[in-house]
Subunit: 402 residues, 2 copies
Amino acid sequence: MERMKRLTVLGATGSVGRRALELIGRFPGQFRVEGLAARGTNPDHVAELCRIHRPRVVALADERAVDVLARALGHPRPEILGGASGLVALARDVPADVVLSAIVGAAGLLPTMAAIETGKAVAIANKEPLVMAGSLMTAAARRHKAPLLPVDSEHSAIFQCIEGQQRSQVHRILLTASGGPFRRMSKADMASVTVEDALNHPTWKMGAKITVDSATLMNKGLEVIEARWLFGLPAEQVQVVVHPQSIIHSMVEYVDGSVIAQLGVADMGIPILYALNYPNRLPWPGERLDLTKVGSLTFEEPDVERFPCLALCLQALAAAGCAPAVLNAANEIAVGAFLAGRIRYTQIAEIIALALDRVPGRALDSIETCVDIDAETRRFVEERLPGFTRGVAAAVSGRAGR
Amino acid sequence: MERMKRLTVLGATGSVGRRALELIGRFPGQFRVEGLAARGTNPDHVAELCRIHRPRVVALADERAVDVLARALGHPRPEILGGASGLVALARDVPADVVLSAIVGAAGLLPTMAAIETGKAVAIANKEPLVMAGSLMTAAARRHKAPLLPVDSEHSAIFQCIEGQQRSQVHRILLTASGGPFRRMSKADMASVTVEDALNHPTWKMGAKITVDSATLMNKGLEVIEARWLFGLPAEQVQVVVHPQSIIHSMVEYVDGSVIAQLGVADMGIPILYALNYPNRLPWPGERLDLTKVGSLTFEEPDVERFPCLALCLQALAAAGCAPAVLNAANEIAVGAFLAGRIRYTQIAEIIALALDRVPGRALDSIETCVDIDAETRRFVEERLPGFTRGVAAAVSGRAGR
């Protein structure tokens, strides 16, 4: 029998982490959960995961949750670490074959880098660290021989379409986008989009932040940046194609006119298991794709005029240096403000554009610089939020009166 | 610079051979044509190909054409061989890195085997030899370490979707079929299909025999048999999916629910160049796929009731032994008779069913047995053709009067 794969899951209570742990439970004897990290907002959930998976070490970002978890678990219990440094220690020190990096947003950067710097394979489900510091992360991965395994369905697709092929023969990547819930909405109507509208994704079930990013196409722009780093191609060779059915998860076009695509049902479980057990595919326990029942697959060009976030991502990538980190931080704060009802949907792009314009550019010389610029951008955006907030109440009541 | 690839083209004046030679001409310095074989029905065409490609040896199946070609070429000229033995000698004795096997029908069997038995890579464009003697051909290829490189767009697609993947993890092959010109036609209307109707393929431009085979879905059935041998999978793991746009050329579904597909414009040039220059892809000089212009891709189940040839292929494959050779020979004679106006379209399937039922089964113990059963089946069908022919004139005049 093959040796069990030892796993550490960063972001165990998030959408991807929960799905991963649920699937791991279906393959007893295949995986061994060594480490778990979570935010700590729900210690009972973490306690439940500990009882099921029996990790050796647990880390909670919220230090106050450490005691709560310890009491909930009683004895014997895993070692419990707290705070940002606890997450880094977990990623770095707990022996693991694969670290699933699934912490939402920039908070995943330092633990992910710690896993890479100890040469562990990293299954990357949170794109923000790669967006912020792609050049540093990929350089570290090369230096420490740490394989980066994409978990995003699109990047998993691209990875699978490149397996066994010569990278020099890639003509371009065709990154598919569902187009989100507002694919057909006019620019005028977008001003009155509600949080509920934005969270109603047509094909994928995901966390709130990524669902809003999907609605603005920011998610697709971040994925272009992610693809640029994961596959070492310039942005011009990464093209977005809107494909509303989310069946083709992405494609790679080769110089000879052949296009290789990966298809499947829209279930994150497939790319999660692929990354965790790479290079061996595990028998999928869920529903399988039946193309004769899908009806038809369609494709269209993305509209950057109605979805300015996509253009902002390409702008940040072209500007290089810390610009993608500025873009990412501004987006995280803006999306948070939108979810909290503080700004309008269309102001997300306006805030990002303002930050890209006004936060001073800097070379990406270290992770510390990246962390600094992230904090600086968050402060910059937070300070300006009240200016954007004025008028939101009026817009909401305007919508109610339609 | 890489060494030039030395090629022998069997079937130089057929649809695939001509396209291959035309494309080879676009990559000077990449290929060197060492040998050419053709039927010899058009010696002027062969002479023209000799002037362009300057092969060292030429073989013509029709011995009477040898002198005509010699006179047309003058001096200096290539060595010219004649007859079936000439084709075998060419395939066997002319040194080549790749032999393109593109002779229509069973006539390709012996020269293709000769190429395999001398350990040359064989680019297989004519499926009939594999259908007739797949077990013997693949065993010989393994014994002589002769790579078999598919040229059929479907098998090239499958080959590309399996590259770099583990064959043991294949769940099934999804072989796509355009459905041909009669995809929507009722069974009743099929009785009055004309040769012109059958030659009007919706997506691919090909020779007459394969175009009729595409209309009956016999071609797809032969491809199931071909796939069974090329990829070493049982027929149950090869499934036909009708995909009228012919953009996805075939797919491979893995155990983990991932489906890998190969897409491209419907141009045989792409799989031809892929096979000839494997494993390096050459820059495609033609039109590229633009999915946003394609509109939509659709999929449906094949209807074996209206397309009985597909079921007959599966029946022959299940019967094993020489049954696929009987099927193939009966189909070749029946299609020839249909093209000559001697039988009706729907009688093609009836003739094949009769041959499968009545030509005695035999174990496929040697190529000689295969050649014998091929000849026996042809005699059997030819003898019975007049019985089918009666009534065709009536049907044709009936159609004219609609």
